[in-house]
């Protein structure tokens, strides 16, 4: 399987594991979409990279250790950005009634798998 196919299969597995997700975007840390199911992927990828970059810096500056994720919570849902190694970003959009604990559990595992491919 090519790298792109492997990435696509991880994308598919994420959506199977977390069917409530509204969108999934995997991007480079400088904000370019790699694989995704979002109509707005270029913009989401850029914003995810910004959120991750700023989150990393805040985590470092305030002695929180390595960043795990950046969470944006609105009235109508969540946007969660995970580091996928040094080169990648995994961004998930979920509705407000989603189980955030379950999302973290699955997403951290998928982020680690993505990290090995990117």
């Amino acid at each position: 399987m090519s790298k792109q196919e492997q990435l696509q299969s991880i994308l598919k597995a994420i959506k199977q594991a977390l069917p409530e997700l509204r969108s999934v975007v995997v991007a480079s840390t400088d904000g370019l979409p790699i694989v995704h199911d979002s109509a707005d992927a270029p913009r989401v990828a850029a914003m995810a990279a910004t959120a991750l970059g700023l989150g990393k810096r805040i985590s470092q500056t305030t002695d929180l250790g390595p960043l795990q994720e950046t969470i944006v919570r609105g009235n109508d849902g969540y946007f969660v950005v995970y580091a996928a190694g040094d080169k990648g970003v995994l961004a998930l959009a979920a509705p407000a009634d989603a189980n955030l604990g379950l999302i973290h559990l699955e997403a951290r595992d998928f982020a680690a798998r993505l990290a090995q491919l990117l």
């Binding site: 840390t29 400088d30 904000g31 913009r43 990279a49 910004t50 700023l54 810096r57 040094d86 080169k87």
Partner: protein, 174 residues
């Protein structure tokens, strides 16, 4: 004297992060990520840069924006509350001047503040000088300053010019 917030913007590779690193008196907050495209450098700013600088008694907060257009949402976020704008362009990349003009027009339409254009890489001829860039951008020549972003004495020049304009603006308002 109240500290003044200054926004430092301009196209990718203009020297925004470099200028802030050169001038900041406090540890710089930067947000670099590895560039996955060929943009002529290894790292690129994805969120912001931040540093501080005294010019005489006046404290400036320096906020640098990302240069790549896909991060344009950060331009507005960071420009909020800024009292002056320094736009950097590379003197050896005149093809960046068109995009720089559009960026400047957009930002000034949203945030009409005193502004100066800095033309970087003046130490690496052949480069466009500030007069040529002023002509191209249709700006008064006192609003365009040449500099080398790696040299503290040179990098501070456009900010001194900007501070004069900001203080004059403040005076005319009061």
């Amino acid at each position: 004297m109240e500290p003044l917030k200054v926004i430092i913007t301009g196209p990718v590779g203009a020297g925004k992060s470099t200028l802030i690193r050169t001038l900041s008196e406090t540890e710089v907050v930067d947000t670099d990520a590895a560039a996955s495209e060929d943009i002529g450098k290894a790292m690129t700013t994805v969120a912001m840069d931040y540093g501080t600088l005294h010019l005489g008694d006046q404290l400036l907060y320096l906020f640098g924006t990302p240069g790549q257009e896909r991060f344009d949402f950060m331009w507005d976020v960071l420009t909020e509350g800024a009292l002056g704008m320094l736009m950097l362009v590379r003197g050896d990349r005149p093809e960046d001047l068109g995009p720089a003009r559009r960026m400047l027009d957009y930002l000034l339409s949203q945030h009409p503040v005193p502004h100066v254009v800095g033309v970087t890489r003046q130490d690496r001829p052949p480069v466009w000088g500030p007069e040529e860039v002023a002509l191209f951008l249709g700006l008064p020549k006192e609003r365009v300053v040449g500099l080398n972003a790696t040299d503290p004495k040179s990098a501070v020049q456009p900010l001194m010019r900007l501070l004069e304009l900001m203080l004059a603006e403040e005076e005319s308002r009061s």
